[in-house]
């Protein structure tokens, strides 16, 4: 086990509570009971499961280099120091993270080879289901996990040793009390005087009267020596907190803790204190593993220490990088786009001048570029671009799930519209037509109403439902309907599927421009991508959802839209409906 060395056996004997292992198992069981596997979990429930300590110990790689590892969980990424030049890097870096019942529990560890001048290269990765690992009966808690090749997950590039275990809740409380004592103990004697105790209660944002503070101090000072030591403080926090909240606010980040239960408040405070004081071995504060591998961000992180609880995230087009929440792993990931392209897209799409330039002839230019690109990508010569493309997106294209071997693709476009092996994309609740599914591998935004979509996402001033669907298809029911946007990125599987089961009623082609569909353009008030781009509007008539409008919108370069089903066909949810390819 990994109990703190300061937590003595005597304390264990005196404590009538069950053993550490039993307590942790109980927490896990409780967690399991709360999670209904048939019910889709939401992120609303902030119900902590506990603190998990994760230590990245060492790795065995297949060549010598200077290595660093990144640990990602949910919206946080942490990194180790850079190792010596070796094929057996040793880091022994530890991080405490909160594992929530309904929160992310799939941790990803990425291993990078580092370069002094150029950017670091991702070599291998692994994913760990923390809930699964923590529920295993293991004495040393050590896991040796294969590191997978980023471009072909069936191959391994080395292995990594990781220790992870739940921190004992009592240990967390004791540890927290020690930290508090150390901060408030001005004269350094390991005990709190009444004056220091008063400062501590004030720091918690607790407005209790002076008489109450005196009462609490006397209550805490069990042996009556006029001081409060670690154990007495821990007992006070444990016992008093049961009756009334002593801790109203976190002294580090100011978070109001009343919404948490006692243990969760202490978990919050422990982590906040650790991050606020830079007490942890692993450097934190990155949003994605890609950021953590950047040299300049590493330097920035050495200059600043900030609590992860008050970092203002910038999403969408306002961020310097486009961040996306991965629903499967519940982690933030960063979209790979060349910095120059982002800058030029901003210049064009987010300024009136840029859009005016587009109006004056560039619309035709975008169309002709896309047509030219279509011809190029249909040529035999284009096949040589396939390996380069795969290399660029090596951690985002899983070659193992492509239906045919790469040699079979004679042009880039053939590869671009690649099919996947049967079963690669399981259809949720396949037999139930009252449950709709996602129509593409994509970055999705969904809104209950059109008004919400305008408020949160589509900033083009001329956007309207009628503008999107066209007069013939738009009805009052669609006008006040819900909207789901599936945005495909270049590396994605480019075939789209039906989200519902029903009869394909119609196809209406609407000619138009080929602006980019990147959030930078969609979030621009000057650009009306969805109502001005070339698109095909189809209507599927269903028994459960009524009519569903399915709009396939072309974009710069990828402007060719092909449907593989015809009017009058019955399509089952999850069935292929068509694809996008290079062209105008």
């Amino acid at each position: 086990g990994h109990g703190s060395s300061r937590y003595t056996a005597d304390q264990e004997i005196q404590d009538p509570k069950p053993s550490r292992r039993a307590r942790i198992r109980r927490r896990l069981r409780l967690h399991r009971r709360k999670s209904d596997p048939n019910k889709f979990t939401t992120f609303a429930a902030a119900d902590f499961a506990g603190i998990v300590r994760i230590e990245i110990v060492k790795a065995e790689m297949k060549f010598k280099d200077r290595w660093l590892a990144c640990l990602s969980l949910g919206e946080r990424t942490y990194r180790t120091e850079i190792s010596e030049c070796t094929d057996k890097p040793v880091w022994k870096s530890e991080k405490k993270v909160v594992l929530e019942s309904n929160g992310p529990h799939m941790a990803r560890i990425s291993v990078f080879e580092t370069n002094r001048l150029s950017k670091n290269n991702l070599v291998g990765y692994c994913e760990i289901d923390l809930m699964e690992v923590l529920s295993q009966d293991s004495e040393d808690n050590l896991e040796v996990i294969n590191l997978l090749d980023v471009s072909s997950p069936s191959k391994t590039v080395g292995s990594i040793s990781v220790i992870c275990y739940f921190e004992d809740p009592i240990e967390t409380e004791k540890y927290f009390s020690r930290r508090l004592l150390a901060i408030m103990d001005n004269n350094g004697d390991g005990k709190l005087t009444f004056s220091e105790f008063t400062d501590l209660i004030n720091a918690f944002g607790n407005q209790v009267a002076a008489a109450k503070k005196e009462y609490l101090f006397k209550k805490a000072d069990e042996n009556g020596d006029g001081f409060v030591d670690i154990d007495e403080l821990a007992t006070l926090l444990a016992v008093q907190q049961e009756h009334e909240s002593l801790i109203s606010n976190c002294p580090v980040c100011g978070e109001i803790l009343g919404k948490f239960d006692k243990m969760n408040a202490i978990i919050h405070l422990t982590l906040c204190f650790d991050e606020g004081t830079g007490n942890q071995v692993m450097t934190g504060g990155f949003l994605t593993d890609k950021q953590a591998s950047y040299g300049w961000i590493l330097k920035l992180s050495e200059w600043t220490h900030f609590s992860s609880y008050d970092v203002g995230l910038k999403y969408g087009s306002s961020s310097s990088h486009i961040l996306i929440f991965d629903r499967r792993t519940k982690r933030l990931v960063e979209e790979i786009i060349d910095g120059k392209i982002i800058l030029s897209m901003r210049a064009i799409y987010q300024s009136k001048v840029g859009l005016t330039l587009i109006d004056k002839g560039s619309k035709d230019l975008l169309k002709s570029i896309s047509e030219k690109q279509g011809r190029k990508m249909n040529s035999l010569e284009s096949a040589k671009d396939i390996p380069k493309f795969i290399d660029f997106f090596k951690d985002q294209i899983n070659l193992d799930e492509i239906k045919y071997p790469l040699e079979r693709f004679k042009t880039f476009n053939e590869f671009f519209i690649r099919e996947l092996k049967h079963g690669s994309r399981p259809i949720a609740f396949k037999e139930r037509d009252d449950i709709a599914v996602c129509a593409a591998d994509c970055r999705l935004t969904a809104f209950k109403t059109v008004d919400d979509s305008i408020r949160f996402w589509i900033k083009g001033r001329k956007f309207s439902m009628q503008g999107l669907l066209g007069k013939d298809i738009c009805s009052s029911e669609f006008n006040h309907g819900s909207l789901v946007i599936f945005r495909l990125a270049p590396q994605d599987y480019h075939r789209f599927h039906s989200p519902v089961s029903g009869v394909v009623e119609s196809f209406v082609e609407i000619p138009g421009s080929l602006y980019t569909v990147n959030p930078i353009a969609v979030n621009s008030k000057y650009c009306n991508v969805f109502t001005e781009n070339k698109r095909v509007v189809s209507v599927i008539s269903t028994s459960e959802f009524g009519k569903v409008a399915f709009v396939a919108i072309g974009a710069t370069m990828v402007g060719s839209i092909t449907f593989t089903r015809e009017k009058g066909d019955y399509i089952h949810k999850g069935d292929e409906f068509g694809y996008f390819s290079f062209g105008g």
């Binding site: 999403y315 629903r327 949720a428 129509a439 999705l444 969904a446 946007i485 789209f496 709009v551």
Partner: protein, 58 residues
């Protein structure tokens, strides 16, 4: 390229995690076949009433 699906008013109850991310202006990475939402209770009720109306006492 992009696909937009428009559902009729009150026809679908989209999964809450997708809605809450979108309300933070954050896109969610999803794959074909993942659950999107369920037919809304209101739409279900309207359908049930319509079925009842079609029933005949014999």
């Amino acid at each position: 390229s992009t696909v937009i699906c428009v559902f009729e008013k009150d026809a679908i109850q989209i999964d809450e995690d997708l809605i809450s991310n979108s309300e933070r202006s954050l896109e969610t990475l999803v794959y074909v076949g993942m659950r999107l939402g369920v037919v809304s209770k209101r739409a279900q009720a309207v359908k049930d009433i319509s079925r009842l109306e079609q029933c005949k006492l014999e």
